[in-house]
Amino acid sequence: EDKVVQSPLSLVVHEGDTVTLNCSYEVTNFRSLLWYKQEKKAPTFLFMLTSSGIEKKSGRLSSILDKKELSSILNITATQTGDSAIYLCAVRGAGNMLTFGGGTRLMVKP
């Protein structure tokens, strides 16, 4: 069974701090890894990673995949209160189904 583990489970930081969220996976026939941000309702897409070592960047957020270590990190620099959310990592394996991790709950205090 495919498995995705995220750490830490929760994180409290102050505005301006930099955070690193971790995602590790065990999946049959890895195809892609996705990061989502979930605030009050629907998860919204952040990044999709398929190749090792290539950083994807969007504003203050960036992410990179390490297929050797079966992991990915999501970095957020200069955090803002609007970054407070649950960050979900998902992996697509055989059958094209997404397996989600339990999420990291990030709280950014003013």
């Binding site: 398929t50 059958g95 094209n96 989600f100 999420g103």
Partner: protein, 114 residues
């Protein structure tokens, strides 16, 4: 314009009842999904439906059945509701099943079974 919509947003019902949740996407996508998110925020895939091909997560009880009247709709029907069915159910869609596609999520339906 809402890309993926679900109705109702909230559903409170008693054990043993049968209920349906509707999902519609206006993105022209070929593939739709249903997910269940439990109280611990774990999102688990229940079904994917692509060109009339249904892929079922084997852990989903057969009380749950997806019904797709057309490509833009994938409704979730639940028979004989149980307390453990209480969760938030998300519908999602993607252009296809290929690994290159991300999934777009609907706003969720919070189901409470009493």
């Amino acid at each position: 314009d809402t890309a993926v919509s679900q109705t109702p947003k909230y559903l409170v019902t008693q054990m043993g009842n049968d209920k349906s949740i509707k999902c519609e996407q206006n993105l022209g996508h070929d593939t739709m999904y249903w997910y269940k998110q439990d109280s611990k925020k774990f999102l688990k895939i229940m079904f994917s439906y692509n060109n009339k091909e249904l892929i079922i997560n084997e852990t989903v009880p057969n009380r749950f059945s997806p019904k797709s009247p057309d490509k833009a709709h994938l409704n979730l029907h639940i028979n004989s509701l149980e307390l453990g069915d209480s969760a938030v159910y998300f519908c999602a869609s993607s252009p296809g099943l290929a690994a290159a596609y991300e999934q777009y999520f609907g706003p969720g339906t919070r189901l409470t079974v009493t």
